[in-house]
């Protein structure tokens, strides 16, 4: 058991947790009755995906993806001396020292999309509450059945 956990779970711990959180969120988004609960579930579902992406970009022993200026200037000098070709000295920026920036960029976009969706969804909740006086899905669906033919 311990051995299995060491070899299977721990190296992929983030990914296991991502699946667990995703399942929780998805379950709430589909299965809960209260609309606000659905939205909490939906948000949790979306953050689970963020966890997947950001976990991909992690490198052991790496720092945050900000290349400090001295290192950057060194790289500029290196290129100015025609560095790319012969390569007597190594290129000053070692990509292994920085976390992968691309997933971060993608997830910034995804967070923004998430909050935009949440805003629209909450507005819909309020309109639904104004029309039906409740936020419980079964009650709303019942009320809809009674107004079936007034359109």
């Amino acid at each position: 058991m311990m051995e299995w956990m060491k070899t299977t779970i721990v190296p992929h711990f983030n990914f296991w947790i991502y699946v667990v959180i995703m399942m929780l969120g998805l379950w709430a988004a589909i299965g809960k009755n209260n609309l606000i609960k659905k939205l909490i579930g939906l948000s949790i579902f979306q953050t689970a995906i963020l966890l997947l992406y950001v976990s991909m970009g992690v490198k052991e022993g790496a720092s945050i993806p900000i290349v400090d200026e001295t290192m950057g200037e060194a790289a500029v000098d290196f290129m100015a001396q025609g560095g790319g070709g012969a390569g007597a000295t190594a290129f000053p920026i070692n990509p292994d020292l920085f976390a992968n920036p691309l997933p971060h960029v993608l997830m910034l976009t995804a967070i923004v999309v998430g909050v935009a969706t949440l805003g629209v969804a909450l507005a819909l909740c309020q309109v639904i509450f104004r029309d039906f006086g409740t936020l419980e899905e079964p009650e709303i669906l019942n009320q809809i059945k009674t107004i079936q033919d007034d359109v």
Partner: protein, 513 residues
């Protein structure tokens, strides 16, 4: 400027939306001309793109000039299929826009500028999804399309439209997130987001292409786009969402949103995973074709039970999505099924646009939302009835119309690959369409002109409309009907362009009929 056409197609409605939002609330009369100009610009540019693709070949555009190394920036790619789809989107959007012209004094007139903003942003999303060559960019644009759709659906005046919009929102977000999960797995396996780059990596490393990660990625991307296009088990949201939204936006969303999702699926199969996944996994493609058959059957059966015109048309969309998904996954050697699906995307966009415009005209002009309200339509308004008939005939698949040719190619592909069940479903669904539409034709042709027809009572949600706007509603309908006919009659060049792309990308040698 001509070298920037692919990006201008997307940018024109974006600038239009922003300008409408900025000036529209001050003077509402400006909204319509600005929106019209923006979409007309897109239309002209998409003609330019089609011309370039037809004469020169596929067109790559690198946003920000980040061309090398490949995959650093975002690539736009126009080929034989999506350039045509761009044109179709521009046409349908223009027609829907002309139809939806608002007038002062209507209720919620303060919101009409924002209707145009959402309308144009929806067009931005559709154009963008079609032309982009980057897997993540598709996600962002899908979300623009989705958010604008939620807004437009919820603008409907029925109480049910809000509930429909909320359900659409939950399902749509889950679908888009599934797509995002799929792209994430793909990125985890290959480390790139550019479609062409992923294709190259998968082709060079078969062990990656056959790994479980890439398989899961494919499953989730497909689940995501299937949710978005309302394929059979995931179709529940569509009829409600589209039939309760205001007809101005239904005319844009119903013909295009599902078709663009189908195109995303084809694009992903085509230029990311390669069509090999269809032929190498016969069991799975068999299953997908079965799902598609289920979608056709479900859509047709649901349509038969409906008495409301708009709901019936919405159910037919589900069946049409089944045609296209099934056709894509037939996997016949000549790729005729795929060709048929691609042509059907265009054909279906035109015919659905025609039918929904007609349904909108029925509702606004005659107050007719249910089948029995249409009685005596031919005598009341022969042009509207004639246009609706053309759309209906195209849906059934009567020869000179575009619906016939797509079904012809789909059936050819199905025969070559031996999917008899699909053929049965296709023909059965055509039969159902025939029953549905001939029932309407019968009511409309032989039915009595109702006594109270002249000053009709406006149904809830549509609002009374002065007669002088009638021409703005009827003209797009007639144009759509004419285009449905023309797309069928002049199908050769369209099919040739599509075949050219298919042949170029899949390496089939034979191009003979």
């Amino acid at each position: 400027m001509s070298e920037h056409l692919p990006v201008i197609v997307v940018l024109a409605p974006l600038f239009g939306a922003v300008i409408v939002g900025f000036f529209g609330s001050r003077d509402r009369r400006l909204c319509f001309p600005i929106a019209l100009t923006a979409l007309a610009l897109s239309f002209i540019c998409s003609i330019g793109v089609v011309h370039h693709v037809a004469t020169v070949g596929a067109w790559d555009y690198f946003v920000g000039g980040w061309e090398s190394p490949h995959g650093v920036g975002i690539q736009l790619r126009a080929d034989g299929v999506n350039s045509l789809l761009l044109l179709a989107i521009a046409v349908v959007a223009l027609l829907a826009l002309v139809y939806s012209i608002r007038q002062d004094g209507e209720k919620d007139a303060e919101k009409s500028p924002f209707f145009y903003v959402l309308f144009l942003l929806l067009c931005v999303g559709l154009f963008g999804i079609t032309i982009t060559g980057d897997a993540f960019n598709v996600y962002v644009l899908i979300e623009i399309t989705a958010l604008t759709s939620y807004g437009l659906v919820a603008m409907g005046s029925s109480r049910r439209s809000r509930v429909a919009a909320f359900q659409y929102l939950v399902i749509g977000t889950v679908g888009a997130s599934f797509y995002l999960i799929g792209v994430g797995y793909l990125y985890l396996a290959v480390g790139s987001l550019n479609m062409a780059d992923i294709r190259a990596i998968l082709a060079a490393n078969p062990e990656i292409a056959n790994s479980r990660i890439v398989g899961t990625a494919l499953v989730f991307i497909l689940l995501g786009v299937w949710t978005k296009m309302s394929l059979f088990p995931l179709h529940g949201w569509l009829p409600n969402a589209y039939s309760y939204c205001p007809s101005g936006s239904a005319n844009l969303m119903a013909p295009l949103v599902t078709k663009v999702s189908v195109y995303v699926m084809i694009r992903i199969l085509f230029s990311v995973f390669g069509l090999g996944v269809i032929t190498e996994n016969p069991g799975w493609s068999e299953l997908v074709v079965l799902i598609a058959v289920g979608s056709i059957v479900a859509g047709s059966v649901m349509a038969l039970t409906q008495r409301e015109i708009k709901k019936m048309l919405c159910c037919l969309i589900v069946a049409e999505v089944g045609y296209m998904v099934g056709g894509t996954w037939l996997g016949d050697a000549g790729r005729w099924g795929l060709t048929g699906s691609m042509y059907h995307i265009l054909a279906d966009a035109m015919m659905t646009s025609c039918l929904f415009l007609a349904a909108g005209v029925f509702a606004k002009q005659f107050g007719a939302t249910r089948l029995e309200h249409l009685s005596g339509l031919f005598r009341r308004s022969p042009w509207v009835a004639g246009a609706f008939t053309l759309g209906g005939l195209a849906m059934i698949g009567v020869p000179p119309m575009c619906g016939f040719f797509s079904k012809f190619y789909l059936i050819r592909g199905a025969i070559e690959s031996g999917h008899w069940l699909y053929i049965v479903a296709l023909l059965g669904s055509s039969l159902v369409n025939a029953i549905l539409f001939f029932r309407i034709f019968e009511i409309a042709y032989f039915g009595e002109v109702p006594e109270s027809s002249e000053p009709f009572e406006p149904s809830e949600g549509e609002g009374a409309t002065p007669r002088r706007y009638a021409v703005w509603r009827t003209a797009p309908l007639l144009i759509a009907a004419a285009l449905t006919l023309l797309l069928g009659i002049f199908n050769r060049p369209v099919i040739d362009l599509i075949r050219g792309t298919v042949v170029e990308n899949t390496g089939i040698v034979s191009m003979e009929e």
